[in-house]
Symmetry: C2
Subunit: 195 residues, 2 copies
DNA sequence: TTTTCAAATGAACACCCGTTCAGTTAAATG
DNA sequence: CATTTAACTGAACGGGTGTTCATTTGAAAA
């Protein structure tokens, strides 16, 4: 036979992904060239095509993988008893998952325009599943009588925007420690939905 | 002398702005060429440079004008007596101003990356003034004893993200009428900060 | 009608784009 | 050591990029 499956590839493939992630987040998908990504990895542009059929797939894979990782991570969070405790878990989970991944979050929100319609539909379906997870908690709280929201869907969208928005201004080493900020966010969310 | 100041220019200048706004919002700054903008207006690419020194200034002007219009509009809103009434005004104002301008809002948030540092600083200063306007209301509510928030700055950032997020999913003719959605949003905001 | 010049043209500048592919390299296999 | 082939190179493809500028156009002013 010949060389074992992937000797360089196992090294180069993740480096291509990482470079694309970093550069797309910093400059935007359209402003980044395959040659820039290749230079970051230390190969010629043509070599990139050993790892992706085209630039579009590179972007779509980054988005899809981010959202699938998000859903898998949430699925592995133990279900609490009671809607209030479940919501507190969700808030803390959302912040813990998103804050260490600013590039992925940025891309997943900002570069949707550049997905073709098939990739867009796939990504939107994954995002929808995450929104549904929060909405389910709000519904449960309504059923328990501990929450008072006029529409669980609208509330879920509003709360996710509130939580995700933290990533747009939070910087480690700022005025407040993360735990304090997380506590403030939980306070706002809890009061907003509580009966 | 000769032709009166601006016979075509008065027509072409706003058409260049409008085309740039629409195309930047739809495809992203980096993905739109000066030739596309020119084609939309019905002129050659060179003619665009009668109205802007370069592509970057076209983007910066769109952002700055949007934020200055926002601040001017808010300044013209009468000041209510009482922090709760002022907050209700702010929420309704924010939604009324932003929802009819999805392209401007999109650009003002998504294309910050493509501003050079001088333009970025200017735009951020304007945005900061708007955030300060909301924070002032929260402070007033604290002083009155009607609000209970642990940090007015964090709360202001969180609430603006919550409100602005509506533009990412609201579509006219959807399941709920805008007035109903606005009422739900006011409900969430009010409860989140109320003592 | 002639003059004037705002406004726009269209070609050119030097360079970058995503993608393809024949050919080269070098490491693991037999 | 010889062979195999994964991994990569480097050049090429047709086309697009922002910006400049000498030149043309045509409507208002004289």
């Amino acid at each position: 036979m010949a060389r074992k499956q992937g000797s360089h590839a196992d090294i180069t493939r993740p480096r291509v992904r990482d470079a694309a992630l970093r550069l797309f987040a910093q400059h935007g998908y359209a402003a980044v060239s395959m040659r820039q990504i290749a230079a970051e990895v230390g190969v010629q542009a043509g070599a990139i095509y050993n790892y992706t059929p085209d630039k579009q797939a590179l972007l779509a894979d980054l988005m899809r993988d981010h959202l699938e990782e998000l859903l898998a991570a949430w699925d592995s969070v133990p279900t609490e008893a009671g809607a209030v405790a479940r919501l507190r878990r969700f808030v803390r989970f959302h912040l813990d998952f998103h804050l260490p991944r600013p590039d992925q979050v940025f891309i997943a929100y900002m570069e949707l325009r550049h997905l073709d319609s098939a990739n867009f539909a796939g990504v939107e379906a994954l995002r929808r599943r995450y929104e549904d997870a929060l909405e389910a908690i709000l519904r449960a709280g309504l059923a328990e009588g501990v929450f008072a929201v006029r529409d669980t869907r609208v509330a879920a969208m509003a709360l996710i925007a509130l939580l995700t928005g933290l990533g747009n201004w939070y910087r480690a080493g700022g005025r407040l420690p993360l735990d304090e900020i997380a506590a403030i966010y939980w306070d706002l969310v809890r009061k907003a939905v509580l009966a």
